[in-house]
């Protein structure tokens, strides 16, 4: 069974969700504050973490920062509806996706599955050949990426996005395609998640010698991985 860690200070809600997730075939564990959330997430026992941003003491954003400092475990953020700041900060810090709270449990499960499917898909790519595009080399089966020999620390979403771009290096990949490949869901209106992930990818890799970014924005269409 897939192990899910729920970090939410609402004890009653956690209980309800745990029950729901169990019925859906997940093995869910709940903790109620940021500190123990970080400790559990770093234990390596979970396939995915569901993290509420509104936590007492250590906030969800801070907890995420600590988790990302040591682990690439997929993280799904529960954000306040309409609170764009939390959402963007969360994605920038390396959350794989977000769900506005309150949400239906069905929606939560769909998002969880989408993220897990992506991780499993790339893991199933074990026999796939490494992807090479310019200075970039990616080994999907090991979830490892190198830029001119330097290892890149990428979240699973970033890894999937970069792989999608690198596989079609030199051609434009639309945002809709990137959303399917990176987030495992169709692109929603006004959703800036892809842009946020792309911008953190650009930051992690740095500019090309000419000062240009290796991922070019093609306005109105999508993004393009540049090969010299």
């Amino acid at each position: 069974m897939t192990r899910v860690l729920l970090v939410d200070d609402d004890v009653e809600l956690s209980g309800l969700l745990r029950e729901y997730l169990q019925q859906e075939g997940f093995d869910a564990t709940a903790v109620h504050d940021g500190e123990s959330g970080v400790a559990e997430a770093l234990s390596g026992a979970y396939a995915i973490v569901v993290l509420d941003v509104m936590l007492p003491r250590l906030t969800g954003v801070d907890a995420l920062r600590r988790i990302r400092a040591r682990s690439r475990v997929p993280v799904l953020m529960l954000t306040a509806r309409g609170d764009d700041v939390d959402r963007i900060v969360g994605l920038e810090l390396g959350a794989d996706d977000y769900v506005p709270k309150p949400c239906t449990p069905r929606e939560l499960v769909a998002r969880l599955r989408a993220i897990l499917r992506r991780v499993e898909l790339t893991a199933a790519d074990a026999n796939a050949a490494p992807i090479a595009a310019g200075p970039l080399t990616m080994w999907p089966e090991r979830r490892r990426a190198e830029w001119t020999g330097r290892a890149l620390e990428l979240t699973s979403t970033e890894f999937n996005l970069l792989a999608a771009l690198a596989r079609r290096a030199g051609r434009v990949v639309t945002k809709a395609e990137l959303s399917e490949a990176g987030l495992g869901r169709p692109l929603a209106r006004f959703d800036r998640s892809i842009d946020v992930h792309i911008s953190s990818l650009r930051q992690k890799i740095g500019p090309l010698p000419g000062g240009r970014s290796f991922i070019q924005t093609v306005r109105g269409q999508g993004y393009q991985f540049i090969v010299e």
């Binding site: 009653e12 809600l13 029950e19 729901y20 859906e24 007492p56 306040a80 509806r81 309150p102 449990p105």
Partner: protein
């Protein structure tokens, strides 16, 4: 330059014109009167008498030729320009003769001949002359002989030009801050709540500057009120998040597994209950905000506050016993006041219940209620033996939705103490919190005896948004 500038400028300038005209006229009148006075008088005294007598004698003995010689001699000396006026009022040498002085000389010469500075000389040919020395002869003559005075146009135009400059300065001085204020009002009305005028007014000290400072005060208050309202709205929506999420989860469970429908319904009921409680408390808070305008909500009644508090404490003690806690009351005296009984009851009850909730098991909450020494106020203190509140958070505990953190986190909405503060302030009182030296929290409440104030202006803590539920509804 705005209209105001031109109005001030033109008014100032018109005023200057009037002043210049008035001063000019007065000066002219004074000068005219002066000349008149000069002309009226003739020289007296021994010297004048001598000069006049000598002249008269020369004239009567030697006739006009001798007189002319004498006068010529005196001209050389440069002294005593005596006038010799013949028929027709003309001086023998054709000099200017002030008419009033001549008339006076004639009169003096006839009434007191020989003793005054005027003499009448009648020649053999019956022509008569009046001999006299006009007063300040030299000055007068100098004036008569000197070139015409400089044109008054020069000082007048200088004055007017200066007044133009000063007029412009004054108009600018008054009109500029008003323009600044107007711009600030415009910014504010467009929704820019950061509009302030103080930096543009500077250290100026007058009514206009005060107006500017009042504007800043108003803008600050509006900003604070709107900020409080926004954060309240934000808090309310966050607060609604958890019961709604529970509702969704419970509904999801019921759909997922029909066997669990009964248990889910119970949870749905509990979540709905919580939403209901939140709305009820928000309404209470908003009614307290509106107490002044909405008097029907809670009538004034005569209540013995000591008695009221004692009964609240007794009820709380009864409930606290179940948790191994206790409430001890020390109430003496009697403070009968006209108060809104229900809201005060709720205010005290919230604090006492809060104390019971946080005091450690096996400890006692101390409630003391007594009249102040001067009998004009009612003092209440409530002390618990719980974890207390971090010093830096003490001022926040009366804000709506404050709920502490960690294990001691309150299970409520954090509206109880906010309601207390509103209610006490609506009665013109104060409520403060401090940590006890031995651990735990102490809340002090002072309620003045005269009861509710006409205004609730004293409320600085601002729960502006509490009216939101009465207004155009909360966002979904």
């Amino acid at each position: 330059m705005g209209r105001l500038f031109w109005k001030f400028f033109l008014m100032y300038w018109a005023a200057t014109l009037v002043v210049v005209a008035a001063v000019g006229t007065t000066a002219w009148l004074v000068q005219a009167a002066d000349e008149h006075a000069f002309e009226r008088s003739i020289e007296g005294g021994p010297r004048a008498t001598f000069v006049v007598t000598a002249t008269a004698a020369t004239l009567s003995r030697g006739g006009l030729p001798a007189l002319r010689e004498l006068l010529a001699d005196w001209d050389r000396v440069g002294d005593a320009p005596v006038l010799v006026v013949g028929a027709g009022g003309r001086d023998v040498r054709g000099r200017f003769v002030p008419a009033p002085a001549l008339a006076r000389a004639r009169a003096l010469a006839t009434t007191t001949p020989g003793r005054s500075g005027a003499r009448l000389v009648t020649q053999s040919d019956k022509t008569s002359y009046v001999v006299f020395l006009p007063a300040e002869e030299r000055g007068l003559l100098a004036r008569i002989s000197r070139p015409s005075p400089p044109s008054p146009m020069i000082p007048i135009s200088v004055t007017l030009l200066t007044s133009l400059v000063f007029g412009a300065l004054i108009a600018w001085y008054v009109a500029r801050p008003i323009k600044v204020l107007r711009a600030a009002f415009e910014r504010l009305s467009r929704g820019d709540l950061d509009a302030r005028v103080a930096p543009l007014i500077g250290g100026r000290r007058d009514e206009v500057a005060d107006l500017g400072r009042d504007f800043d005060g108003m803008a600050m208050r509006i900003q604070a009120l709107l900020g409080a309202q926004r954060s309240l709205l934000h808090d309310v929506s966050h607060e609604l998040r958890s019961p709604l999420a529970r509702l969704q989860a419970a509904i999801g469970l019921a759909r997922q597994n029909p066997l669990k429908t009964e248990a889910s319904l119970e949870r749905i009921g509990a979540a709905a209950q919580r939403v209901d409680e939140l709305v009820a408390q928000l309404l209470t808070l908003s009614r307290l905000e509106a107490t002044v305008t909405d008097r029907a909500y809670d009538r004034l009644e005569r209540v013995d506050l000591v008695d009221l508090l004692a009964s609240i404490a007794e009820d709380a003690h009864f409930e606290a016993q179940a948790f191994g806690k206790a409430v001890a009351v020390s109430a003496d005296g009697e403070v009968v006041a006209e108060v809104r009984g229900e809201s005060l009851h709720r205010a005290f009850e919230n604090v006492v219940r809060n104390a019971v909730r946080f005091t450690a098991a096996g400890t006692t909450v101390d409630v003391s209620a007594r009249p102040a020494a001067d009998g004009l106020a009612f003092l209440v203190s409530i002390e618990d033996r719980g974890p207390g509140v971090p010093e830096e958070e003490l001022p926040s505990i009366f804000e709506p939705f404050y709920r502490g953190a960690g294990e001691g986190r309150s299970p409520g909405f954090g509206l109880g103490l906010a309601i207390t503060k509103r209610a006490i302030e609506a009665h013109g009182g104060t409520v403060t919190a401090a940590n006890r030296s031995g651990g735990g929290l102490r809340i002090d409440i002072v309620v003045p005896r005269q009861g509710p104030q006409g205004t609730r202006d004293g409320g600085s803590g601002v729960v502006g948004g509490a009216r939101a539920p009465r207004g155009p509804a909360l966002p979904a």
